[in-house]
Symmetry: C2
Subunit: 409 residues, 2 copies
């Protein structure tokens, strides 16, 4: 093996922002993405937000010669939006849906309907087993008052755990996606600390693209400049992360991002910038076992910080469950009262109905709708509470194992 030349792998990652009827210039952009993937001949293209399967099929048809293997992960109401085009055979796939993913009633955000998930593909390239993960976490709509932070932290934790538990048979682990987290955010630190994944931007030998590796930049014409005001350079939320296991080491030779437009074109591929990483996979020279599995003491703090966020989320979820339960009981009482009044006036116990019939019926309509909705929401928030409690407990167990490991070192 040592005599083999290193394997070079070019990986393209992009959040395509392809929502039918809503995303601007969708068809042109999908065409442009297809053209670029075809011309550039990457080894792997990891795409997010390809919400319409028709767009996926269009890309698949166009790229069949250059990327004979591809996979679209289905989940949620709309589809996960995740798909992968590969030059090498996909041996197996597996999908893990995050247990928490926003709220169905937040229609204007819509993340719940997407069934956010992480997709795993097992790909063999020149005898090396790659576990390729593609994902898209819950969006951040307001950084100062981020109601979805606990859900995103749970997703980051589940992503980290999913990678750890499913990558034991891999030679190389590769994760691409829109993580909706800044590089210093607790979720990213948790993910990187727990899995040992390396950040291609931090580790690359050559970088070309937006300053600080940003992938949401004001230069992009689809970006709402006001939202990026606190970050004049933009933000970095799209990542290519990797690690070599057992017999292999991985390095990032170069990293390129687009800079507001597609190269040589007047429009961008998407509202996100594409990230193109050139990775180099080499057999490990040192003895087996030195794959960097040493535990960093800072990880304890990171897991504790994440656990605190989960606890905050738990507190909110419990409050929401309580108020939905109270609302359901009130609506039920109102309905019962109305039923009693209606019945008593029907059997003639009472003088004629004290309220006009129309308002009376309108009120019962309202009470029924409120009762139904509060019941559904009560169930929903109960599930949320359970999942947050479960995650908190898992993190507690993980912390304990971590501390045992550290004290035995």
């Amino acid at each position: 093996m040592d005599a083999d030349p290193p394997l070079q792998l070019r990986v393209f990652n992009l959040n395509c922002w392809a929502i039918r009827y809503l995303s601007k210039l969708r068809q042109e952009r999908i065409g442009l993405i297809g053209d670029t993937l075809g011309q550039e001949g990457f080894d792997l293209a990891l795409l997010q937000e390809v919400w319409s399967e028709r767009d996926y099929c269009e890309l698949k048809q166009k790229l069949t010669a250059c990327y004979p293997y591809s996979h679209y992960f289905k989940s949620g109401v709309i589809g996960s939006g995740l798909c992968v085009f590969s030059r090498y055979p996909i041996l197996d796939t597996f999908l893990y849906q995050y247990s928490l993913n926003g709220y169905p009633y937040m229609l204007q955000h819509g993340d719940w309907f997407c069934g956010k998930a992480v997709g795993l593909l097992i790909i063999k390239i020149c005898g090396i087993i790659f576990h390729v993960y593609v994902t898209h976490l819950h969006a951040e709509y307001c950084r100062d008052k981020d109601a979805y932070l606990p859900h995103r932290v749970v997703q980051a934790w589940e992503l980290a755990q999913f990678i750890q538990h499913t990558s034991k048979g891999a030679d190389v682990v590769l994760l691409g996606g829109d993580l909706n987290m800044h590089p210093g955010d607790v979720g990213i630190r948790l993910l990187r600390g727990w899995t040992g994944l390396r950040d291609s931007f931090a580790d690359t030998e050559r970088f070309e693209g937006c300053e600080d590796g940003c992938t949401l930049v004001p230069a992009n014409c689809f970006i709402n400049k006001e939202e990026l005001q606190p970050f004049p350079l933009g933000i970095r939320i799209d990542y290519v992360l990797y690690k070599g296991l057992s017999r292999f080491v991985v390095k990032c030779d170069s990293l390129v991002t687009t800079t507001g437009t597609a190269p040589g074109k007047s429009i961008p591929y998407s509202d996100h910038e594409a990230v193109i990483a050139t990775l180099c996979v080499k057999p490990r020279e040192e003895a087996k076992g030195s794959s960097g599995s040493a535990v960093e003491p800072e990880l304890v703090d990171v897991v504790n910080e994440a656990r605190t966020e989960v606890r905050v989320g738990l507190h909110t979820a419990e409050r929401q469950r309580y108020s939905n339960g109270r609302m359901a009981i009130l609506a039920l009482l109102l309905l019962l009262l109305q039923a009693a009044m209606g019945l008593s006036s029907l059997v003639g116990w009472d003088s004629p109905q004290p309220f006009p019939k129309f308002s009376f019926s309108l009120l019962s309509l309202l009470a029924t709708v409120v009762l139904l909705l509060s019941m559904v929401l009560y169930v929903f928030h109960t599930i949320e509470v359970k999942m947050l409690q479960g995650t908190e407990e898992q993190m507690r167990l993980a912390l304990q194992a971590l501390q045992d490991k550290l004290s035995s070192m």
Copy 2:
């Protein structure tokens, strides 16, 4: 290693049927289960249907001396019901919720509310890494016309895939649970064929208990005899499955089931019989690699059979989605018509309201409720369709990989 004596492991598996307010003699039975676990000192106790966390806490408190390590998996509205008591430290846990699990409107069955899942625990015993899986699949309410068969097949497939993808780092894989499938059912054949897990009942050297290893038997006083009429001996739906990986072989030295009552008592532990397996783990003598990973040609037929079931489910789900969509549109049209009539009579275009106001309002109440419910169900069945399509596609890919493997053998 070869000089080490074989490791003997006693595993207790039971579906506890502990539903608060509904299950008969719940408290007595939980007490009895706790006593037995305490007296017998098994190495592992895998329990299902411990729906109430209070029951789990009661058991935990009672068993803390004998089983210092335990875990309860939280999910769904009620909790997954899955918990494990262990004599050995639990290093890590992970939960995978099945993507399909019945219907929320089937309140009388209630499986949807339980968030059926598979829990993974990583346990190290005498230096051997055990991946212990505990699960409970969707119940079968009517064998002749089993509306949940496609969901159960999807669950069996996800269980098999979850085990395959998460067990690469294990020395021994152990699965215990109520699979709600007879030994010859397609889901069991798929699970066993895909993972290579061995059935403790089929492989044991010594068996003692109900004929054919049945775990739902007419002798149990909680069993509805009529439901078991087609199976005079009972049915076997609770399993302990295992396999040794890489350096280890596992054998089942003995298997015992209870026979309608708890030993020496007048009542049973549950409506299911307990399964107690004594496993023997030994270092493998042959060269590494001969861990029985050969592909059986029959597996192709099994995956095809499972895929057909998924397709049947897909057809049904599409039909249900269609009828819910149609119902929602009809309800919306009715509401719009009523709004138009109401408005026109308000602005005085029309002669006085042709319908009595009360019936008019009642009708709009009904239309609103129908609209809301059909919309929710439309969304629900759309998710179901997506997941069935996704599973079908995954099975197609798996079949292809299987056929490639077979043709290269």
